[in-house]
Symmetry: C2
Subunit: 410 residues, 2 copies
């Protein structure tokens, strides 16, 4: 008799954005005259830039001609893209990588979700809290957690709180953990770690034979000097860290789909027979067995992000979003709210006034200012009492939204 994977039954049923969408839709249906401004979901709004569009279409044209048609490509992605990635995203920070350390994929969500497969089920995982739900859920599905507890945390998963009290800098785990998910600039808080702060985690990983799974999907939004653009800026990180990157927020690829994961060959783990195993080879085996590469025209489109013109164009878009972030940050500060993030990130993390619960503040903003945010509690227990706003709307809508909030009294 076929049996299901019952770990799936341990998952919380309601998905955060489904509930956000349900409440927003209900409000809009009941109030069709209201102009609701969505600042909830972290999706870009600017179209693909001209350099990307041109390269994308040229590559589609190649697919029309028998002499330039591309069939199956390498599961790991084409060298032309891996070369551009290494040169632009790593060499410029003084880091060198081999081509076979870069695995191109259709999404950082997929990679961050799939990576746990290559590790044993009895590893202890640690996550910062609040957190991007994919890290937790994929480990629950695999069977690395127990039940969810009343406090909203799963048994057997170590949570590292990030709140005002510690300035959103997670403490090192007080118990032994094996796999540590870190995302900086952080989703959802928009906060970052300095190089020194990140170096402590690298040191912890080395001392405890742990591995860091570093999600740098928001790297393009870094504006401050002392914030690492890649974890490999930290000495020794190549031995203990995998890094996830994405074109989604960098170049507006949320609907186009391209990302990559760096797995340095320096990462070696001893198996139960004391033989050193290469994590790079394990991930290569995973990807070659269960993945078939990214669409060729999409990879050509991603390559164009790194041209001189492409860089100019995407930076213009990022600056546009960062200006929105600045406006949100300053407007909310002016009316006395405590706000975080938004400097190296498109996310602004707002402390709710008067210790309101996240969903209550969500409802208040929806009903009184017609603004949709995302309740912080949806990202984990330590997100309670916060709300996330994103800078991905238009400048006009962002200003309009801030004007509305400024008229509220808390």
């Amino acid at each position: 008799m076929v049996k299901i994977n019952e770990n799936y039954l341990l998952l919380e049923n309601s998905y955060l954005f489904v509930e956000v969408n349900r409440r927003a839709t209900k409000y809009m249906e009941e109030n069709p005259d209201k102009n609701v401004i969505k600042m909830g979901i972290g999706d870009v709004t600017k179209p693909l830039v001209p350099s990307v569009i041109n390269a994308f279409k040229d590559a589609v044209d190649e697919m029309a001609d028998v002499n330039s048609f591309m069939g199956y490509g390498p599961e790991q992605g084409y060298d032309f893209l891996a070369e551009a990635i290494i040169k632009n995203d790593f060499n410029r920070w003084g880091i060198d990588l081999d081509l076979d350390e870069v695995f191109i994929s259709d999404g950082a969500k997929c990679d961050a979700g799939n990576i746990q497969e290559i590790f044993a089920l009895d590893n202890i995982i640690a996550v910062t809290d609040p957190v991007y739900p994919v890290y937790v859920d994929t480990n629950v599905m695999a069977g690395r957690s127990g039940m969810i507890k009343d406090d909203g945390m799963y048994e057997n998963i170590v949570y590292l709180p990030c709140r005002e009290e510690n300035n959103f800098v997670p403490e090192l785990p007080s118990e032994k953990v094996d796999l540590i998910y870190l995302c900086f600039p952080n989703n959802p808080t928009g906060t970052t770690l300095t190089k020194d702060q990140l170096a402590k985690f690298v040191e912890y990983a080395k001392e405890n034979d742990a591995l860091i799974l570093f999600d740098a999907a928001y790297e393009a939004f870094i504006t401050e000097d002392n914030v690492p653009h890649t974890i490999y800026e930290i000495e020794g990180a190549k031995e203990v860290a995998i890094e996830f990157r994405s074109f989604s927020k960098t170049a507006g690829f949320t609907g186009t789909r391209c990302a990559y994961t760096v797995v340095p060959k320096e990462i070696k783990i001893k198996d139960s027979e004391d033989n050193e195993q290469s994590v790079n080879l394990l991930w290569n085996r995973r990807q070659t067995t269960k993945f078939n590469g990214v669409s060729y025209p999409v990879q050509k489109a991603a390559e164009a992000v790194y041209t001189e013109e492409g860089q100019k164009e995407i930076i213009e878009n990022i600056d546009y979003y960062l200006e929105n972030a600045r406006i949100i940050r300053e407007s909310l500060s002016e009316i006395g709210l405590n706000v975080y993030g938004g400097v190296n990130s498109p996310y602004i993390w707002v402390k709710t006034p008067n210790d309101m619960e996240s969903w209550d503040f969500f409802d208040l903003l929806l009903e009184e200012a017609n603004i949709v945010g995302t309740p912080g509690s949806g990202f984990g227990p330590s997100g309670e009492g916060y709300l996330r706003l994103t800078a991905f709307n238009t400048l006009e809508n962002t200003k309009e939204a801030m004007g509305r909030i400024s008229k509220l009294s808390f």
Copy 2:
């Protein structure tokens, strides 16, 4: 201390096509004057058809405009494509599906590899032999097998041999199995099951509470009447079968990446507390958590496959490959070889002459006729003594290759 998933260490190291490529490359380097014809890897060679190219480029143009730009799409794919799929691939055979029973993805390899995640680790799986390696390898990686034995079979996996002796029709499992992978038209043998033959597996699944994972990636090549185009043509199959489909071979999407999986809501499995669980919801949870949808322009390109013009164009390409298949089949038959497949499939499965081993016949064809095939033994123990040729080369090369083989004496 972080531990790896040691199931990966159970996998065979050498990957079939890597070794094929190594031998072919070595031969070509040593014999630069020889015109080597590749009939090994199952990759298409015809470019994308004009309807697909036009839709693809139009969709890229949409991504350039703020008013038509598409960000994150549904993880399950857009309704416009699911609707076209249901209408064209199922309604025409009298089968109806709901939109939320179709999950669009970037590849049937991914889906066929990932599907096992939603089932418990102690299910017994059965595969036909020879077999597409992904079914076996992904289960080995998850921990559903033991070690590989001297006979090339993994412990705890049930192999259903398909050879000349049973006319490539697998027997029903003689022991109880839970998950049965079937691929028809078959990769690698190119053979098919009739409706009655497939119905026996559906009946087995019903009687044994088993589930069939049906890979129909080669459906577009079916030419004979009594061959089912979808497993749902078999009465009751919706309760016991998941079906994988792909645009790769149908429309030349091997480098463009689009596929889909059908998970009927009728499939219910009782959990350990005797509650019925929907496999459709489990897969939905898997996909929404670990996948982020297919590139929007790619989905628009796939939709164009179903236009009247698109259908005409792709059928022309398929007929071209089928004509190659016919030439291969008839040429090899004429010189006394036993050949199978090639009627409802782009694959021709050749019995080696004089009981040669697969790799010996591979070497002979490479060295004496400068033709690259794929050794049948690479697909599993029951593939020993066979070699796979594909019809994806040009008509000219196919004729040239057959002329060369015809001059050999075995």
